[in-house]
């Protein structure tokens, strides 16, 4: 059970200052556009928070590009909108904190081979719900999601979209409950990313073969037997080596119910 409200609240309240700047090549105005500063929740997604920024920059680009899809990059690396913002920051700036985070806005040359298209917010919702379902399949064989009603799904999404902690957790709490006689999930939904952005997803049980709780240290030795001193970072913090996986999954998953963890 995810009952450690203090941790949940601290994670939920995490925000990042971001400075958007328009790509120099795309400016079609005599005036240099001002950079656009904004605080965004770490748990949210870029397409949900950039409406105002987009309106600001539209005035400075040529009209023929105004209908093009906008995309972002950091130091020349396109940012994938379907990852949570906080995770993207951890991935690119985890070892080298840089605040506010400087991102470049583009309206042309969409990197088709790297990014998915995102024409509206419904696509973000669809992606989010499918990830939640995947996590539920790993945790409870999909039983919880399938018993929920459409309005519960909506509440989950709207809670995230409107940054409403109580609205979101009223539903998400049910996804974090353990089912069956043995305490804990069937498997932990976890994705581990290395520095170059490559993702590893394995079936990981919250328990060792002898029935005791599995902790981070054991996970690392299981996955990276040759690198015993590797550290894991999520939500901008380094995880203590003796943290149990079950607790970690219940409290420190992103809203899509996955643990997105960076190696460092």
């Amino acid at each position: 059970m995810a009952n450690d409200r203090e941790v949940l609240r601290e994670i939920w309240d995490g925000k990042l200052p971001i400075c958007f700047q328009l790509d120099q090549e795309e400016i079609m105005d005599i005036q240099q556009p001002d950079p656009f500063y904004v605080m965004v929740p770490r748990l949210s997604y870029f397409p949900l928070v950039i409406d105002k920024m987009k309106r600001h920059f539209l005035r400075f680009i040529s009209q023929e590009n105004a209908d093009n899809e906008m995309w972002l990059d950091y130091n020349g690396q396109p940012l994938k909108w379907h990852y949570p913002i906080g995770f993207l920051y951890d991935l690119f700036c985890g070892n080298d904190p840089q605040l506010p985070w400087n991102l470049t806005v583009h309206f042309t040359k969409f990197p088709e081979h790297i990014l998915l298209h995102c024409s509206n917010k419904d696509i973000v919702e669809a992606h989010f719900m499918s990830t939640v379902k995947e996590a539920d399949v790993l945790k409870h064989r999909g039983q919880v999601m399938s018993t929920m009603q459409k309005k519960d799904h909506n509440q989950l999404w709207l809670g995230l979209q409107n940054d409403k902690f109580d609205q979101f957790w009223a539903i998400n709490r049910r996804l974090m409950e353990s089912h069956g006689d043995n305490e804990g999930f069937k498997h932990i939904p976890i994705r581990i990313y290395s520095d170059d952005g490559i993702c590893r997803q394995r079936l990981i049980s919250p328990r060792n073969s002898d029935g005791s709780r599995k902790i981070i240290q054991q996970l690392i030795s299981e996955l990276y037997p040759d690198k015993p001193d590797v550290k894991l970072r999520t939500h901008g913090i380094l995880l203590p080596a003796d943290t149990p996986l079950q607790w970690l999954s219940e409290h420190m998953s992103y809203p899509d119910n996955f643990l997105h963890i960076c190696l460092c």
């Binding site: 601290e10 990042l16 605080m39 913090i237």
Partner: protein, 374 residues
């Protein structure tokens, strides 16, 4: 609640993260965004004010320029007027030319319309002629029809008169037939009387020939006066004996006579077909002899009653079919005079025809029959 060093560590890290990343920048970014909004609204305002300023300056300029040399002004105004007038003139010229063109066009159109009108007139007069000829035709047909109606009426009258004559002749015929029949009856009666008389005579003759009776008569008369009682008794006994014998014999002969005088009916089953013929399409439901003529009426499932003349041996001649029934005819019968024939059919109706002209006279359904009889 679970606890431990790791949890404390995590909470501390999270708190320091939030302090570092969030609370440091929260206020400054909020302030920045407010400033940002302010700047954009001020920019808009500035733009509007510039516009207004520009407009004011322009109107000012106009008012300043109006204060120049009045005579020059006037000349200029007149020149401008002349120019305008000239322009007006040219435009008027142009409109005149257009009007003339239009008049020509209209004239052409008028001519065309006149031509149209003429052709229409011709058409109308042709149609009038046609109508007149058609009227005449109608009149002719009317008179024709009247004539035919008169003719028809005449024929109908003639027909009626003929029918009346026919009926009276028929009546006469029936009377003659009745008379004939009564004559035949009388003849038969006389014949029967003759036969009775003959029988009587025969009987009488036989009685007188009977020996016993004769004996009694003769001896009865003789014995009354002369013979003694004894002899008489003996004789009487003897006579009784003889009488009983004689009466026996005579009784049997009398019975024979009675048998002979009774009408004699020979009953034989028909074994030979005299003639056969196809009367109806489908089954034949009823057959009846006419009481007067050599006619047979048959009723069949083909909804017809048919009359057949069987007077010639082996040759059956159709005398006609009586139609009008709506279902198969189940029974037919003649009236006593053989003039009418009734047919009962499966449509709950009975119909009466006359045999002579084979016409349907009466047609009544179940209810009507009841009504008529009640």
């Amino acid at each position: 609640m679970e606890g431990g060093e790791w949890r404390k560590d995590i909470i501390n890290q999270l708190q320091s993260r939030n302090k570092r990343e969030t609370s440091t920048f929260q206020d400054i970014i909020a302030f920045q965004s407010r400033l940002f909004d302010n700047v954009s609204t001020l920019k808009n305002e500035n733009l509007q004010l510039t516009l207004m300023n520009e407009r004011m300056r322009y109107s000012n300029n106009e008012s300043v320029s109006s204060g120049g040399n009045p005579s020059f002004e006037k000349i200029q105004a007149m020149e401008q007027r002349i120019l305008a007038q000239q322009e007006e003139l040219t435009s008027l010229h142009r409109t005149r030319g257009e009007n003339a063109q239009e008049i020509i066009n209209l004239n052409a159109r008028v001519r065309e319309l006149e031509k149209n009108l003429q052709s229409k007139d011709i058409l109308i007069s042709e149609n009038m002629a046609l109508i007149a000829s058609l009227r005449a035709e109608i009149q002719m047909y009317d008179t024709n029809m009247n004539e035919l109606q008169g003719l028809n009426q005449m024929l109908r009258d003639e027909h009626q008169a003929l029918q009346i004559a026919f009926a009276s002749i028929e009546e006469k015929l029936r009377k003659a037939q009745d008379e004939n029949r009564s004559l035949v009856e009388r003849l038969i009666k006389y014949k029967a009387k003759d036969a009775d008389k003959m029988n009587e005579e025969n009987e009488h003759f036989l009685k007188s020939n009977n020996p016993t009776a004769f004996f009694i008569n003769t001896f009865g008369r003789v014995s009354f006066g002369k013979k003694s009682d004894k002899v008489r008794k003996e004789l009487e006994e003897a006579a009784r004996e003889g009488c009983s014998r004689g009466s026996d014999g005579s009784g049997g002969s009398v019975d024979d006579k009675i048998m002979e005088s009774m009408p004699y009916y020979a009953t034989t089953l028909p074994t030979k077909v005299l003639s056969s013929f196809d009367a109806h399409d489908g089954e034949v439901n009823a057959v009846k002899w006419s009481p007067t003529d050599r006619l047979v009426a048959t009723g069949g499932a083909d909804r017809k009653v048919k009359l057949w003349d069987v007077s010639k041996m082996g040759l059956v001649e159709s005398k006609g079919a009586l139609v009008g029934s709506n279902a198969g005819v189940m029974s037919v019968d003649f009236d006593a005079t053989g003039v009418y024939i009734v047919g009962a059919s499966n449509d709950f109706a009975s119909r009466v025809w006359t045999v002579g002209d084979q016409r349907l006279r009466v047609s009544c359904y179940t209810n009507q029959i009841f009504d008529n009889y009640i």
